[in-house]
Symmetry: C2
Subunit: 337 residues, 2 copies
């Protein structure tokens, strides 16, 4: 046909009333139609290429089947599996995903949030929050934080168990005989950087290391250049360290190159650990000992939490923390005596 | 204020008529307002947190400020920089990006297209097309293909110069003295697999290799498991090869592991080349010789083409091919004699 197919065309082809066809095609009312009829209507809609006009529906009901995902930069290898998990979780509930990148710029984040709200976005999942942020999605728009969270705990969040991961790594290094362990930490204003740093202090203290034997240097960002500079600063002050716990895998790779510059071998002279288990760190030389985060599951869980939040916006803000796992590879070895 | 700000609030704050404020905030009519007024209105809108109700505008004008991006799987390292480039290009024109994954399933692709069309999506950028596809976005919805294209050329596309990349690699191997070069090709039904395969035949022929000295084995997918199996098949038939041109970087990494199983060293016994220069292949042992594709620029260019297409839907379908670059690293060396 020359014009776009309408709900009446679909109903006619399926042999049902238009109201039945409409109910069958709306996820919110599909349960009112019997399954075989619903399938027949769906088949007719597909055959005709019928696209329900959800802009019209959105205006009538003020709800939407779109959610917004905002990340710092999709090219950081941590985010693709998280975004994929979110998209899979949203799609099963009939939601489409708007995706935006901020490069960590709060102004760009505000612009994206405004533009997405203007599209009747039903809720937001943000991977961009800083510890000091208060509400991010704006009042009355359901929002879930993923990977990072804020200090106040007012917004639901899904993160990995950063503290447990650091404890596993420190325990692993101490078991290998290391007694002088440095930490190249991520930025303090991000929960990931802060929680791992706090856990490093806790773990080294509880395992009997003196603070002077567990020095910390902060990288300005979770990147290789920032990690490289911080590693050089750490070893300039503390040349006797035999192990480095890096704030994430990118910083760990920067430790490799910084230590090579200093003429130290890994793990012969210095053991190095990462955090994230991002793709291909098992293929580095040496293969990186790290902590594996369930990034895809973190995304799925964030989608689930957002859907819960949309259904009951005033329910208490859950904080979901998913378990992590130590992955021992070749970048850690016995302490050099 | 307790209620959401309206266009009248914005106009009042900016000291202009509501109609002027409305024009200034609509990308389609902004040119009718002088620049300083437009900036003042934008500033007022930002200060008040005004979100234009684009669902209402969408219904009136049947246009939209959303475009759909569909990829096989964001977790494939090729796609994040492409999607990021698209998103940056779209955003500068005031468009938001809906993103969906299909895992190569045509049924899921149809569902996504239908759902996105139902949201008044202004156009699509598809990274999922197969050579035999005819139109993907449905009639009357502007569509651009990215990374892959269809054989018929009816749809605008942005791809890398696959043929030139293969010629660079074959020339590089021949210059190193290789005379028996195998190709572990990607799937024939994808333009990326097909174009590289055809270019391999052309390049080896034009450089004087007999077909028997340039055998080809097809991998079922551009993945490590498929590449591993195909490499083993290739060497079972042709044990005397001294070089392998892999269909992409993941297949090249699979060549490393398959050759290690066969007791062959890289590049001592066999040189290996990749395609894409995905992140971290410079860190593999040996660092991978490959062809660098401008993935981010491919995405930007696709966004530009889509915006052109939205502005003039019946303009001829452009095919943009971006240049590639040989990156010599350690996985290729002189032919063993």
């Amino acid at each position: 046909m020359d014009r776009a197919p309408t709900i009446k065309d679909v109903a006619e082809r399926a042999g049902v009333h238009a109201a039945t066809a409409s109910r069958a095609l709306n996820p919110a009312t599909r349960g009112m139609v019997n399954v075989r009829t619903a399938n027949r209507v769906a088949e007719a809609a597909r055959a005709l290429g019928y696209a329900p006009n959800s802009a019209a529906r959105s205006l009538r009901t003020r709800t939407s089947s779109v959610a917004g995902i905002i990340v710092p930069d999709l090219r950081n290898p941590v985010f693709p599996p998280i975004v994929r998990g979110i998209e899979d979780g949203l799609r099963e509930a009939g939601y489409l995903a708007l995706v935006g990148n901020t490069d960590g710029d709060p102004e760009r984040e505000r612009e994206l949030l405004t533009a997405m709200r203007g599209r009747q976005t039903a809720g937001f999942i943000l991977a961009t929050s800083r510890r000091g942020d208060s509400f991010a999605g704006g009042p009355a728009v359901p929002t879930v934080l993923v990977n990072r969270r804020t200090d106040d705990g007012d917004t639901p969040s899904v993160t990995a168990d950063n503290a447990a991961g650091v404890h596993l790594l420190v325990r692993h290094l101490v078991d290998l005989g290391h007694t002088r362990i440095g930490h190249v930490a991520g930025p303090r204003d991000l929960s990931t950087g802060w929680e791992r740093y706090r856990a490093f202090l806790d773990a080294t203290t509880s395992l009997g290391l003196e603070p002077a034997a567990a020095p910390v240097e902060f990288a300005d960002a979770f990147t290789e250049p920032a990690g490289h500079a911080a590693t050089l600063r750490l070893f300039a002050e503390h040349p006797g360290l035999t192990a480095v716990l890096a704030g994430n895998d990118l910083i760990a790779l920067a430790c490799y190159s910084a230590l090579a510059e200093l003429g130290r071998s890994v793990p012969g002279d210095v053991s190095v650990t990462g955090f994230n288990d991002m793709p291909f760190v098992d293929r580095q030389r040496p293969a990186l000992t790290t902590v594996r985060l369930p990034h895809y599951e973190i995304g799925r869980e964030a989608a689930r939490l957002l859907l819960e939040r949309i259904a009951s916006p005033t329910a208490p803000a859950k904080r979901v923390v998913l378990p992590v796992e130590l992955v021992r590879r070749d970048s850690t070895g016995p302490a050099k005596v």
